[in-house]
């Protein structure tokens, strides 16, 4: 109970913007997972490539920003993996 209260009232908790911003970034990861069943011709090389660089940069940002934002780091780490996978599928589809 005390742990839960500590989370709710944390300076990077759900009462703050430091929480919901990273949560919204999970949308990219969820979209990536949903698109894993799409055939490679339907994938956008532009967008997937950009998202790979974007999440790599923001993993570093999340680590260096104060307060350090582990949720942001995690959401971008997840996105990085799915986008790299999608990029490999797109590239293989290009032949």
């Amino acid at each position: 109970m005390a742990l839960f209260k500590a989370f709710i009232n944390s300076p990077v908790g759900p009462k703050t913007t430091h929480f919901w911003g990273p949560v919204s970034n999970l949308g990219f990861f969820i979209a990536g997972v949903a698109d894993m069943k799409k055939p490679p011709e339907m994938l956008s090389g532009n967008m997937t490539g950009v998202l790979c660089v974007y999440s790599a940069l923001f993993m570093r940002f999340a680590w260096m920003v104060r307060p350090r934002n582990h949720m942001l780091l995690a959401s971008h780490a997840l996105n990085e993996s799915v986008q790299l996978y999608q990029l490999s599928r797109w590239a293989k589809g290009k032949g």
């Binding site: 969820i30 698109d35 994938l43 956008s44 974007y54 923001f58």
Partner: protein
């Protein structure tokens, strides 16, 4: 005079030697990639991805205005994301739901 101002910018704690500069700056790439994809046929657009672009754009636009200090760079890049995402969504929705009459007529 100008060089010392430039030096101040160069050495700023959120300046071009730091991730605080490059990560938000690169975020423009998402909107640029989306604008490049305006030329893609709507069948190839992804609802989940465009919804994610739009939603994160709207949420972060709001949040960049409530943090201290206000971050206009972050605000504008997320506003652009929301705008391009909404446009792509409208293209795909129009194609999927409002072109049925035309394609039905063609089939007849």
């Amino acid at each position: 005079m100008a060089t010392s101002k430039l030096q101040a910018l160069w050495n700023h704690p959120a300046g071009p030697k730091t991730i605080h500069f490059w990560a938000p700056t690169f975020k423009w790439g998402i909107s640029i990639a989306n604008i490049a994809d305006f030329a893609k046929p709507p069948e190839k657009l992804s609802y989940p991805q465009q919804f994610a672009v739009t939603a994160t754009g709207i949420i972060w636009s709001r949040y960049s205005m409530v943090i201290t200090p206000k971050n206009w760079n972050l605000f504008s890049v997320n506003l652009a994301m929301a705008g391009t995402g909404l446009y792509q969504l409208s293209r795909k929705i129009r194609h999927d739901y409002f072109n049925e009459e035309e394609t039905a007529a063609l089939k007849e």
